[in-house]
Symmetry: C2
Subunit: 276 residues, 2 copies
């Protein structure tokens, strides 16, 4: 049955609504894995045309086709409005958002969520097989269809209800959005001294690489975990931007509090390198 | 002259003081690049023995040899004390710290800094050729010797005085230490909901990968830059840990302030994926 479900995907009419980064990458992931996309539908004709030409997928900005599965890949605030365009009742509709509940979809169809946990940029190639997909559906059959579909793209497909999805999204905000903002603030500091930010890329790469092997809590280094007040004071005296100072203080306080129970005189580890 | 300096490195007696992560990786980087290390010296016999056996470098925890170059790779607070052990006056001494000034070294020798910008873990292999080395010395000759030495290991060797080094270190704290702490806090959140942290690794990798090609400021995504108060409120309601809440608010405020000048109604980009 599982097998027939999978081959069924080849005959299922799929329409993707949206022409942004997520819509583009989903359309690409489908076509690369021999899952035909019957239409991409959106407002921006230029974007649609570009995707259509690259992936050989028909597009429209006027007439949404009758499909069996609609995947809505638009921004959170538009999902409800866009979902009203779907008049077909005998279909499955999925949005792709981490922080919108399933019942934001408005219509007499079966509602679901098809959430890929990744940050998408149109110009950047992605290895789709590594992207985790989180699925939510009304019933077991719909769940099975979406799981099979996602499994054709990725090795990591899981069920997650709206509540769990919120926490996944929140975790991603810490591990992705906030991390990127730290890079942006770090670059402000190095730019101010004419130090090329490229010098920091090997360190940044290694920091990320490390947590593939070591728990982030165990990988922590730096002046705050060493309780090195001398360095902390020097750094504070160098910072002049109010937001940089707030981040500096908040992060150091948080680091100190995380390790306060573990702290002993031996924490002053001679092997710790000062920069890290 | 440059050439003779480089070949001179093969005959220069080098001692490394310390047996931690930095000492180990420097000793390894030297020996891998055919620069003989005459001794590693430190307090911890077990660590010294282990390094000595792996790299075939003599060690001692009692008698520091007479060398032409001593590289002190111990923790910041011990540099001054350790440097007093060097009695040889006709030598060059370098510490490896990002946040300690050159004159922390105490003795009648020539003082310098040999600062590798990387986070070192003993068990993790590193591509030494990518590590930036920042050099500071008393005079041009010493600078040349250390630059040549670093150039045998790495493609990125630069001069940086103590003032510049402080900013390099501060930037590294934002881009490495704080980033790792965000990973640790993110993992707390996912752990609390039994969501495997491994699911976030492709997203984390892509976030870091991205800034090799795109300025971090331009790569920013997420609810704060979209001014998505609905999602920001949901997230705040999910967080219960005081430090997590402080980080959440501080980072979002900082993101909002960074983009406030750029903001226009068009910032609400339909192509932005909610998670990112």
């Amino acid at each position: 049955m599982r097998l027939s479900c999978v081959s069924y995907l080849c005959y299922m009419k799929i329409a993707i609504i949206g022409s942004g980064n997520v819509a583009y990458h989903l359309a690409k992931a489908f076509t690369e894995n021999n899952i035909p996309v019957s239409q991409i539908f959106g407002r921006n004709e230029n974007d649609l045309k570009e995707i259509s030409e690259e992936l050989s997928v028909p597009y429209s900005f006027e007439n949404l086709i009758d499909a069996e599965l609609y995947i809505i890949a638009v921004n959170d605030n538009s999902i409800g409005e866009v979902s009203k365009k779907i008049e077909n009742k005998n279909c499955l509709v999925a949005h792709t958002s981490g922080s919108v509940s399933r019942d934001t979809l408005v219509g007499n169809y079966r509602k679901s969520v098809f959430y890929p946990l990744q940050t998408f940029t149109k110009s950047k190639k992605l290895d789709y097989s590594k992207i985790p997909f989180f699925i939510e559906a009304e019933n077991e059959d719909n769940l099975e269809v979406l799981k099979n579909l996602a499994s054709k793209i990725s090795k990591n497909v899981m069920e997650a209800d709206s509540e769990k999805r919120k926490y996944i999204h929140l975790t991603a905000v810490f591990a992705c959005n906030f991390v990127n903002h730290l890079y942006a603030r770090a670059k402000e500091i190095s730019d101010s001294q004419n130090i090329p930010f490229d010098y920091f890329l090997p360190l940044i790469d290694e920091t990320t690489q490390k947590i593939h092997e070591i728990e982030p809590k165990s990988a922590q280094t730096g002046p705050a975990i060493r309780n090195d007040e001398r360095v902390l004071k020097i750094h504070e005296s160098l910072l002049t931007d109010e937001e940089q100072i707030k981040i500096y203080k908040t992060m150091n306080e948080s680091i100190k509090k995380m390790y306060v129970k573990d702290r002993s005189p031996k924490t002053e580890d001679g092997s710790l390198h000062s920069e890290s």
